[in-house]
């Protein structure tokens, strides 16, 4: 039972079909001037048109990158480079994806500055602090995740964008968890996404640079993707990503409702059946498919291992499950318990039966792990 869609979603059937077809037709370099290349170019253009249509942007604003992570790097570093004359400060929320944090660290090492805007206990950015931060002198770019990838809380993107607009600061929105599931409000200048989050193949990232945005490529010069991202694009994977985005976009409302009801069931049942548990994130204004909770006195790694042994694949923000042994910066910023942490993220193959089985087995697993430490 796979409950880690927020990391990677199983390949959507539409993506699989498109990928297999594209392996035969999409291998040539779309930049060349012969028949095979023209066919590849047509396929790439069609994929770009699909993305533009779903996102409500112009096709020439859409760039394909090698992953969601590289798209986030390109958005942050390119957005900062394009506004170098306006200043050297990056404003970001405390709960951005690590890709944004790492891009910010590089910016600071290169002499730039960074201002972190806190979140409340539910994981929602403090809008007053945000407005103060973006109105400070010398802000080049502001970065806000559309909805927390760890706890699901939807961010006030429209209000944050309005604050940015008032100060003439471009806003970058990391929409990796929202695309294909829920709409992203307007008002941003840069946006990124990751195909494997919506049932596309891994290795396809999306960068959208709106017209009029000052953005300078952080990479050595390359003429692919209008000079925005270097290297030959993985055309078959991009075609598959477009097919799956189109497919999930069509069914997003009803699928979101179904998954959201399952998430409600998890939130209610875990709170009722597991003592000393903290269910985190906004219970209502949240992603439809993500639910996160922490169990007191339980080692996160032991919990993951016990669940895996019973066939449940979940994710954790606990320190012992990370390579750095640091607790999740998102949970820490919210001030909520970081140990014994579990994130379930559901997808189109997730069923009520699977969720119920998880809910039936979890209390016993937690009780056993607590007993091992005398609690």
């Amino acid at each position: 039972m796979y409950f880690d869609a927020a990391t990677a979603t199983p390949l959507h059937p539409a993506a699989r079909e498109a990928l297999l077809g594209a392996l035969d037709d999409g291998w040539a370099d779309p930049g060349k001037l012969y028949t095979q290349a023209r066919r590849a170019r047509l396929l790439l253009d069609a994929a770009r048109d699909t993305f533009a249509q779903v996102l409500g942007v112009r096709p020439d604003e859409v760039t394909f990158t090698g992953s969601g992570t590289t798209a986030a790097h390109a958005a942050v570093l390119g957005g900062l480079a394009g506004r170098r004359r306006a200043g050297a400060a990056l404003v970001r929320s405390a709960i951005e994806h690590s890709a944004v944090l790492h891009a910010g660290e590089r910016h600071v090492r290169a002499g730039g500055t960074e201002a972190e805007v806190p979140v409340d206990r539910l994981g929602r950015v403090d809008l007053d602090a945000w407005a103060r931060a973006v109105s400070a002198p010398g802000v080049a770019l502001a970065s806000l995740i559309s909805a927390s990838h760890e706890v699901g809380t939807v961010q006030p993107v429209a209000a944050a964008a309005a604050a940015c607009r008032d100060c003439g600061v471009p806003l970058y929105v990391d929409a990796a968890q929202s695309l294909g599931r829920m709409p992203v409000p307007d008002g941003w200048s840069l946006l990124s996404g990751s195909a494997r989050k919506w049932g596309g193949p891994p290795g396809v990232g999306l960068l959208v640079v709106r017209k009029g945005t000052r953005w300078v490529s952080p990479y050595p010069a390359d003429d692919r993707e209008s000079g925005r991202f270097p290297g030959a694009p993985d055309l078959p994977a991009i075609i598959a990503a477009a097919a799956s985005l189109h497919a999930v976009h069509e069914t997003a409302a009803q699928e979101g409702k179904r998954l959201s009801e399952l998430v409600d069931r998890v939130r209610t049942t875990v709170a009722a059946t597991v003592p000393d548990v903290e269910i985190v994130g906004d219970p209502v204004d949240r992603l439809p498919h993500v639910v996160t909770f922490s169990c007191l006195y339980v080692d996160g790694e032991a919990l993951l291992t016990a669940l895996d042994r019973r066939g449940f694949a979940v994710s954790s923000g606990s320190a012992c499950t990370s390579s750095t042994l640091q607790p999740s910066h998102v949970l820490a910023a919210m001030g909520v318990l970081t140990h014994g942490n579990i994130r379930l993220s559901l997808h189109r193959d997730s069923t009520a039966e699977q969720v119920d089985r998880f809910l039936a087995e979890l209390p016993g697993i937690v009780t056993a792990l607590r007993a091992e430490v005398g609690m």
Partner: protein, 79 residues
């Protein structure tokens, strides 16, 4: 003796979370209501999890201090 002076110190240095929180949860109920315990813990999660535990269990988190260069956290038993 000042009211906030710890009457007991739990040395959890070198222990990974959730062990410092477990040690605190076991010790606090053995102390009188109003007493303060100090937890020495250098696991990075302790700085978040000890205040979170206090909030969940309705105990009072008094704050972090540095003891001989190591992080320490003071908690008062309320209930």
């Amino acid at each position: 003796m000042k009211a906030d002076t710890p009457v007991d110190v739990l040395d959890c240095l070198g222990q990974r979370c959730p062990l410092p929180v477990i040690a605190l949860a076991k010790r606090l109920p053995t102390m009188p209501v109003g007493a303060v315990v100090r937890v020495l813990a250098d696991d990075p999660a302790a700085a978040v999890d000890i205040p979170a535990w206090c909030r969940m269990r309705a105990q009072e988190y008094l704050g972090a201090v540095s003891v001989d260069g190591s992080p320490a956290f003071d908690v008062r038993r309320l209930t």
